[in-house]
């Protein structure tokens, strides 16, 4: 133990005494590692930000059915059970999917499109409620402004039809359970339950709606939906879902291509980064290794004196290893300092274009740890040749000048 701690102490002293040489290697390491950390910070900040946006915006997970299809409830329910599907509701015919809303207190009337919704609707996630039953709606901000209504108000919804030669109109009391911000839906619209949409469609078609007391013909057979609103569980499920549905002969539109572009960019830039990192670190390790080897040669006499006074082979090997690790550690600290300075400047430069809390250049604590582990590993590998050379030093070498 005395040997080990003495060897540690002496190699540290040697390192400090030769601070010019040690310092150059620390700076050389920081010059490689610092820009690499900035580069990775930029990649992580920019691409990571894009990926986070992709993941967070539910619209990127949407799978939109195109044209008119024929889907029964069984098919819709089966889709809903798939592990890669987060949410699915059937859509009724677009032509029957609107309603006239009016504020009872004023004379304002607005025609809005009806969007089928239900529990778990990703678009309404984070704003509170989803509509259930035939008397609840989630009104879009735009529509609510025109109607001059707010959450909690009850408004009148009315639909009309020509039935057996005469015009008919039905009124419904609809409670606004929440107003959806424009970011969720930027047209005049309302999220309602499938039940309400089906009632509206049936009424328009001249069929009766017993639950609401609306008269009409008997409904005929199994209901067929022309489309659906479907959201994949994650953005990574979108491409697979699209492939499956297309294979079934369905026409769907997704943002899979946009997602793929960002993912490709992420992957390619990560690859490029690692190529640069490996080349940079390997180059640094080589130059450090060569200098450590040269150091051992230069200090042969001093090291052999230590062997002469009784230090073991292993203690002498510690010298290049300890000094290499010291270089790695201090170089990493300096590189981290460089990173903080540069990233601060970059983020300040882009501050106007960023939202609060967003940054163009940033690293997570684990990235610093990874950088440290890689650096120390490279340093230890670099010290191997020097260590091997040091292990061969004989005590007799120090005795006489050659």
């Amino acid at each position: 133990m005395a040997h080990f701690s003495e060897a540690l102490r002496l190699s540290g002293k040697d390192y400090l005494r030769e601070w010019r040489i040690s310092g150059s290697f620390i700076v050389a390491l920081a010059a490689v590692l610092g820009p690499m950390m900035v580069l990775f910070g930029l990649k992580f900040g920019v691409i990571g930000g894009m990926v986070v946006e992709l993941v967070q915006d539910p619209r990127n997970r949407e799978v939109l059915s195109l044209g008119n299809g024929h889907y029964n409830l069984q098919w819709i329910e089966k889709m809903g059970q798939r592990p890669d599907v987060a949410f699915v509701v059937p859509r009724t015919r677009r032509i029957a999917a609107d309603i006239q809303l009016s504020n009872k207190g004023s004379s304002r009337i607005v025609n809005v499109e009806l969007v089928p919704s239900g529990p778990g609707d990703p678009l309404l996630q984070g704003i509170g409620n989803t509509p259930t039953g035939a008397d609840q709606i989630v009104l879009s901000e735009l529509a609510a402004e025109k109607l001059m209504v707010k959450t909690g108000d009850t408004i009148d919804g009315s639909i009309s039809r020509m039935f057996r030669g005469k015009a008919e109109r039905q009124h419904l009391d609809l409670k606004i359970i929440v107003v959806a911000p424009a970011a969720v839906f930027n047209r005049e619209g309302a999220f309602v339950s499938v039940e309400l949409l089906q009632a509206v469609e049936d009424f328009r078609d001249g069929r009766k709606v017993p639950s609401l007391g609306w008269d009409g013909t008997e409904s005929g057979g199994e209901r067929v939906y022309p489309g659906f609103r479907l959201y994949a569980k994650t953005i990574y499920d979108v491409a697979g879902l699209q492939k499956d549905l297309t294979a079934q002969g369905l026409q769907v539109r997704t943002r899979a291509d946009d997602i793929a572009v960002v993912q490709d960019m992420d992957r390619n830039l990560t690859l490029v980064f690692w190529v640069i990192a490996v080349i940079g670190l390997a180059g640094f390790a080589l130059s450090l290794g060569a200098s450590l080897l040269a150091n051992v040669d230069r200090k042969r006499r001093e090291l052999s004196v230590l062997r002469l006074v009784g230090f073991h082979t292993g203690d002498i090997v510690l010298f290049p290893v300890v000094q290499s690790i010291l270089t790695g550690l201090v170089g990493w600290l300096l590189a981290s300092g460089i990173f903080f300075g540069v990233s601060f400047a970059i983020n300040k430069m882009f501050a106007d274009q960023l939202e609060v809390g967003q940054s163009v250049c940033r690293l997570l604590p684990e990235h610093f740890i990874v950088a440290l582990v890689l650096t120390i590993t490279a340093a230890v590998i670099a010290a191997m040749l020097g260590g091997l050379s040091a292990s061969r030093i004989e005590p007799s070498e120090g005795l006489r000048e050659i």
Partner: protein, 257 residues
């Protein structure tokens, strides 16, 4: 001295041999001509002061290196080392056979002090740290006091916190002597310790060295090419002769004593 109580038990006539060598040979083959050092018999008693006098190249260093366990003999009939009166002799030849280099290093660390011709100091350690190097390795206590006392004897106390590069050659040799003696070894080996100094300084430092060794009751072996003043210090000279072997291929030095 640590062994003083035991020394009383042992009759003065009982000579304890710190080194006992028989038929030890070291051969160095070179292009055309080779060199051989042969030691038919060498016995060095504890407390003896030995001088090894001869011109350079006669094999002094080879012998000293073998005695310091840093050069392996090519052949050895017997190579025993007994650093402590109370201990059994240690079979150094067996250690060499088993390549126990670190064991030999441990013996050297504890029992041997080495003064070399020049340098041999660790440049990034202060004089104080250089002198206490072996003491630290041996985890001895009271190092500061011991080092300061020794530095006082050597006249280098005011240099204790300097680095070797700030000292003159003579001062460095004093530090080297200090380091060799600081851990109270059983034997000090000095290879031309004053050869790099001017004659006056050389004599002064040699006197100081032998004086200290005497005082500390440490066995000493000094190699030198200047017999004149060594003789005055009362050292026993090992006899040696150099000759050419009958086949003319080897220069052989035979040391006995």
């Amino acid at each position: 001295m640590e062994n003083s109580t035991e020394a009383v038990l042992i009759r003065p006539s009982d000579k304890v041999l710190i080194y006992h060598l028989r038929d030890v040979v070291r051969t160095r083959e070179a292009e055309g001509t080779g060199f051989r050092l042969r030691v038919p018999s060498l016995q060095i008693a504890m407390g003896e002061k030995i001088a090894l006098i001869g011109h350079s190249g006669c094999g002094k260093s080879t012998l000293l290196d073998m005695l310091a366990f840093i050069l392996q003999p090519t052949e050895s009939g017997a190579f025993r080392f007994r650093p402590e009166r109370s201990d059994e002799p240690i079979d150094i030849a067996a250690y060499w056979d088993k390549s126990r280099q670190n064991h030999l290093g441990d013996l050297r660390k504890k029992y041997i002090g080495y003064v070399m011709q020049t340098g041999g100091l660790v440049p990034y350690l202060t004089v104080r740290d250089n002198i206490s190097l072996s003491r630290n390795l041996l985890q001895m206590t009271n190092n500061d006091k011991a080092v300061e006392e020794l530095a006082g004897h050597l006249g280098i106390r005011r240099h204790l916190d300097k680095y070797p590069s700030a000292l003159s050659t003579g001062e460095r040799q004093r530090v080297a002597i200090g380091r060799a003696l600081a851990h109270r070894p059983s034997i000090v080996i000095a290879d031309e310790p004053t050869a790099s100094l001017d004659p006056i300084a050389a004599e002064k430092i040699m006197n100081l060295f032998i004086e200290l060794v005497d005082e500390l009751n440490i066995t000493v072996i000094v190699a030198s090419h200047a017999w004149r003043h060594i003789k005055k210090l009362g050292l026993r000279q090992l006899s040696h002769r150099t000759q050419r072997t009958s086949d003319g291929k080897l220069t052989e030095t035979v040391v006995t004593g």
